[in-house]
Subunit: 340 residues, 2 copies
């Protein structure tokens, strides 16, 4: 039997079943006015029985807010935006605020269209997200608060929240130093990406603070792939016999996994001879790797929660703030850097 | 400078700037009534200048529809629901329908809460999704059309759309037979999962049609992980010397990647000695594998598009239909099954 029904129950239907006026139904379901508890219960029972739901649209028109937040992503439903969205949902879901998701897929025209659409739907606020290696254009002045999360607006008048690439790299390098490594390499993605450069800077800063240096021969920049990790391992191995580095910080878990495979297959023991730290804490990569990867967790879910909380606060009349907020990363320890 | 502004421009502001009445603004922006093109343009220019957006809420109350579809997922923002959501967006985005996403995280109470929330927001229809190994409970009779996608309702009165596990397994097995394999193994996930059993059935059907049989020793059911794939490869290798099977259909790309690693590291040549086919067409797994994996693509994006199209058609007054629709999978060829 098909499930579609053409008629939605109305206030009138509930009033008739409960034997009260439509005005009383409205009072009872909205918790307003003076009503006997018995009457309120009778109305609620009638509403439940008929499957009646108060019209949120009408409420929104009167209150001037929709309890809806728009999420505009540029980077499809990718693996970096997923945990962020889970975090946004954590914060909004608790307060009965719904999310309207729009995916511009990096197309400026599509983004403009979605923005108009979200504004005409009177969303109370907007989260702009997407993993971009470089700062993105600002949406400019809007009548609602906007938070850029996991992506940075080029305009300092906007509020942007991202994780701290440099601090993450420092954490990774300090850990390698702490487990006694004396010569540390940096294997990462394309040099044109800001995150590649920031992580190199963090690596260099941590080494310098320990009185060490990053040898230019030990900086290998390629792509964000396992294959590049294997290639880079081969380059390091061919530098000298035995392999001259004893620690490698990799710009992603995919690269780190490739490096681990390349070293193991060349007979280099990880972590005894060479300790490895990745970046992302991407479950299938860190667990699939042999050995499992010590890595940097950018705490994306937490970032989503914080961005949504800032937005909700501004919607409730609080100060939104502006500028670029950098959230710290965490170190997650596994076997690739810890001799047992 | 902070971006938040407290005042949203109104019809009155537009009317004043354009030097017309509020009624004329409404006519001009909604394309109704008789107006001179010059007047319509003047109103549009004023609206653009002020950043005025017609109120979709008011329009919705009058029309009785909100141009909003709810998406209720049980499986977080996972890697299987993401491509599905991209497909849903493909279909809805084109028609100016927005999606309200809710993630129940498998919690029935949370699901009930979200359902009430979506109904009170007067969504025009609902897509229920989530990767569940077994049919899920029905949401029952609702005043709006509902499509279950990537998950099957236990109630045949509902409309469910999933991909065809059995047909996918037949495709995989027929391909192994076509490239000349004589003894084919099936390595997959837990036997308690319906998809594990359906894929075994498909494998057996295809073999039987070719006058072959699935040897019980060649059915290895464990978990959905690379580690299990490596273990299973070891079990097959220890059966006899040389390894007695020459083709392996794996229930997931993760398992297939583990099998490929296990065989290679034991000196078994893939695909010359043993051809491998996976399931999912999950980019990081099929490309990370050595060699890259031939696999079955469940076409999740397409499934999302079709589900959303069915829903839109029902919202526009068309027949929703009911029962369980199985969509075919595709075979994607790569090196793990093709000797060059």
């Amino acid at each position: 039997m098909p499930r579609t029904e053409s008629s939605t129950p109305t206030v009138r239907d509930v009033a008739q079943l409960a034997g009260v006026s439509p005005g009383t139904v409205s009072k009872a379901l909205n918790g307003r006015g003076q009503l006997r508890e018995e009457t309120r219960q009778r109305v609620q029972d009638a509403a439940d029985k008929l499957g009646f739901h108060p019209n949120q649209l009408a409420k929104s028109l009167i209150e001037g807010r929709t309890y809806t937040v728009g999420v505009l992503t540029t980077a499809s439903f990718g693996r970096f935006t997923m945990p962020l969205m889970t975090g946004i949902e954590d914060s909004l879901g608790a307060g009965k605020v719904s999310t309207l998701f729009c995916d511009s897929r990096g197309d400026p025209l599509r983004e403009r269209h979605y923005l108009q659409e979200l504004l005409s739907r009177r969303v109370d606020g907007l989260v702009v997200t997407g993993r971009k290696p470089d700062p993105r254009h600002s949406l400019g002045r809007l009548p609602i608060p906007v938070v850029y999360a996991l992506t940075q607006s080029e305009d300092d008048g906007d509020l942007s929240m991202t994780y701290d690439d440099r601090q993450g790299a420092e954490l990774a390098t300090n850990h390698l130093i702490a487990v006694g490594r004396k010569r540390i390499a940096y294997v990462s993605g394309p040099t044109r990406h800001l995150s590649t450069r920031l992580r190199q800077q963090g690596t260099e800063d941590a080494l310098e603070a320990a009185g060490m240096k990053l040898d230019p021969r030990d900086v290998l920049l390629g792509e964000w792939s396992e294959a590049w990790g294997r290639t880079a391992a081969g380059i390091l191995i061919r530098q000298a016999e035995p392999i001259p580095v004893d620690g490698i910080f990799c710009g992603s878990d995919q690269i780190a996994r490739g490096v681990a495979d390349g070293l193991r297959e060349a007979g280099v023991d990880v972590p005894r001879q060479v300790a490895i730290v990745g970046f992302d804490n991407w479950d299938v990569m860190v667990q699939g790797s042999r050995p499992p990867l010590t890595t940097i967790d950018p705490n994306l879910t937490m970032l989503g929660q914080l961005a949504a909380n800032r937005l909700l606060n501004a919607i409730d009349g609080g100060e939104l703030g502006s500028g670029h907020i950098l959230r710290p990363c965490d170190l997650v320890l596994r076997q690739s850097s810890m001799s047992s």
